[in-house]
């Protein structure tokens, strides 16, 4: 039997092969996700419970309380979902499988797409489920401009994915990742107004909020659910900028690999 000598395909064939490899990688990562769904489930169920419990408080405290409780908790728990992305990528490092993939024919870009695509789907599903739940159970007015809402979700999930990949690339253990992801998520999202409406927060916090991606996500989603296209664009652009910076750094770091070092 012939040995693999690594022929070079033409451009169309190369694209087809690339897609074939990405599908294989994404399939494998989907399996891994499906076999360990606990974290995902809890990040969907917890905000559902909290929305029910906190709704009366919000409605009494601020105008548009229903919208704020749904979008606020959605943003908060989608930020928690960063750790799903982070853990998934970090696990490849602790299992040492990342290096096995790096010696395969798939270039780093394919590895990352194959790795993150299923997580992207999970994040989009999480946010969509929470929005639908918000409409059906909490009483969020059904958004008039569904594509706008969907677009916002896509942008926000992409940002979260990039932040998660970045964290996974710089931490040295799952412990470090949970500290950064959980404490960071709570701080950033509550500072961004996800837990307590911004208008009720002290003035310094309202200013500091603008540093948090959660703040922009909230602004974007709140504009999107009321169909305010113009108001959706600036936050979306800022989020995409953050995603780009985090993503590029993560890709560079993950491409280089760690060899045997880098983990606690």
């Amino acid at each position: 039997m012939l040995l693999d000598t690594g022929y070079r395909p033409g451009p169309t064939a190369a694209l087809r092969e690339s897609l074939y490899r990405i599908r294989a990688l994404a399939g494998n990562n989907t399996l891994i996700r499906l076999r360990d769904p606990g974290q995902t489930i809890s990040y969907v169920v917890m905000p559902m419970v909290l929305m029910l419990v906190l709704k009366p408080l919000y409605v009494r405290a601020v105008e548009g309380g229903t919208t704020k409780v749904v979008t606020g908790l959605l943003v908060m728990f989608s930020v928690f979902a960063i750790s799903i992305a982070g853990n998934a990528i970090l696990a490849e490092r602790t299992w040492k499988t990342w290096d096995r993939l790096r010696v395969s024919r798939a270039p780093a870009a394919e590895l990352l797409i194959g790795k993150t695509l299923p997580i992207y789907v999970v994040m989009i599903a999480q946010q969509s489920i929470l929005l639908v739940y918000g409409c059906l159970v909490i009483g969020l007015p059904v958004p008039g401009n569904v594509p706008l809402v969907l677009g916002s979700i896509l942008v926000w999930a992409f940002t979260l994915l990039a932040i998660g990949a970045l964290l996974a690339a710089i931490v040295r253990s799952h412990g470090e990742l949970s500290v950064i992801a959980d404490v960071g998520a709570l701080t950033l999202s509550s500072l961004g107004g996800a837990l307590v409406p911004l208008s009720l927060m002290p003035e310094w916090a309202q200013v500091a909020a603008q540093l948090s991606p959660g703040y922009w996500a909230l602004k974007m989603l709140q504009a999107a659910v009321v169909g305010d296209t113009a108001g959706t664009m600036l936050p979306a652009a800022i989020l995409l900028g953050i995603a780009l910076v985090c993503g590029v750094f993560a890709i560079r770091r993950l491409t280089r690999g760690w060899g045997r070092g880098g983990l606690l």
Binding site: L3, D4, G6, L31, T97, R105
Partner: protein, 278 residues
């Protein structure tokens, strides 16, 4: 096929490779041996482009490792498998990553399942497998696409007799098909069975390279006689048989025990490698 010249790799104060040179021809098995920390795994990592050397050159079929992705099959020293994924799913993944499709993929999986005896656990998740079973799965994922260069880093570590035989058979067969193979091990008899070229690494360098006969020839063996169950004679010699005959001819008292110890790879290893190990 594989040429590595004067590789240097430094980790802080540690010189992992210090002028490491090794070539492997197509169809050749090079058994890479050497003490713990000699630099064997570091060499494998550089050839598979997982880490970069500080100095020196590597070519695989004339190309640098960076341009040889996917053409090298690597079974790392440490088990690196997805715990919640089954053996068959692993083979599918690595086969597809190498571009194998349907019939070719199924054929390759079938062949390795038989050759490495994976059948009884092929649909189990790897987390539940024994160490030797995981070892075989790991080798299978490296072999699935029939790469022209195989880097097997201690593929029989922790393996039982049967696993070892299966592994050696597959390695011999792949070399017969024309693959260049780097095979690291601490079990020297395996290299005799593989009829491998032996390369001895010490402190980041290759200090000896040759066939078993070439390397062992000229090493001293030992002849040991015991007269009347009490007086012991030990003679160190490069020609044990001739020395034995000579001793027997000169013996004046009855001999109760005769032992002839031919020089072995272990002696070679001891004389070259371990004696000066850091």
């Amino acid at each position: 096929m594989l040429h590595a010249i004067d590789l240097v790799k430094r980790y802080g104060p540690v010189l992992a490779l210090d002028g490491f040179s090794l070539s492997v021809a197509a169809g050749e098995i090079v058994g890479l041996v050497g003490h713990n920390g000699a630099g064997k795994t570091t060499f494998v990592e550089i050839v598979s482009y997982l880490i970069r050397q500080d100095a020196g050159h590597v070519t695989i079929d004339g190309r640098p490792p960076s341009a040889s992705r996917g053409r090298v099959g690597v079974a790392p020293q440490h088990i690196a498998l997805y715990p919640s994924v089954t053996v068959r799913e692993h083979l599918n993944l690595f086969g597809k990553l190498a571009g194998l499709r349907r019939a070719a993929l199924d054929g390759a999986i079938e062949e390795l399942t038989v050759a490495l005896r994976l059948g009884s656990f092929i649909d189990r998740r790897t987390a539940g497998l024994s160490g030797g079973q995981q070892r075989r799965v790991q080798a299978a994922t490296a072999l699935i696409h029939r790469p022209g260069l195989l880097l097997l880093d201690e593929p029989t570590a922790g393996a039982d007799l049967e696993t070892r035989e299966a592994m050696l058979d597959v390695v011999k067969q792949r070399a017969g098909d024309g693959a260049a193979i780097v095979y690291t091990t601490h079990y020297l008899p395996e290299l005799v069975e593989l009829q491998a070229t032996i390369a001895v690494a010490r402190s980041g360098k290759i200090i000896a390279r040759g066939t078993y006969d070439e390397l062992v020839d000229g090493l001293p063996g030992e002849v040991r006689l015991i007269h009347d169950n009490e007086e012991e004679v030990r003679v160190s010699t490069t020609q044990p048989a001739a020395t034995l005959i000579d001793l027997l001819g000169r013996a004046e008292r009855p001999i109760s025990t005769i032992e002839v110890h031919n020089p072995s790879l272990d002696d070679l290893y001891r004389s070259l490698a371990v004696s000066d190990a850091p």
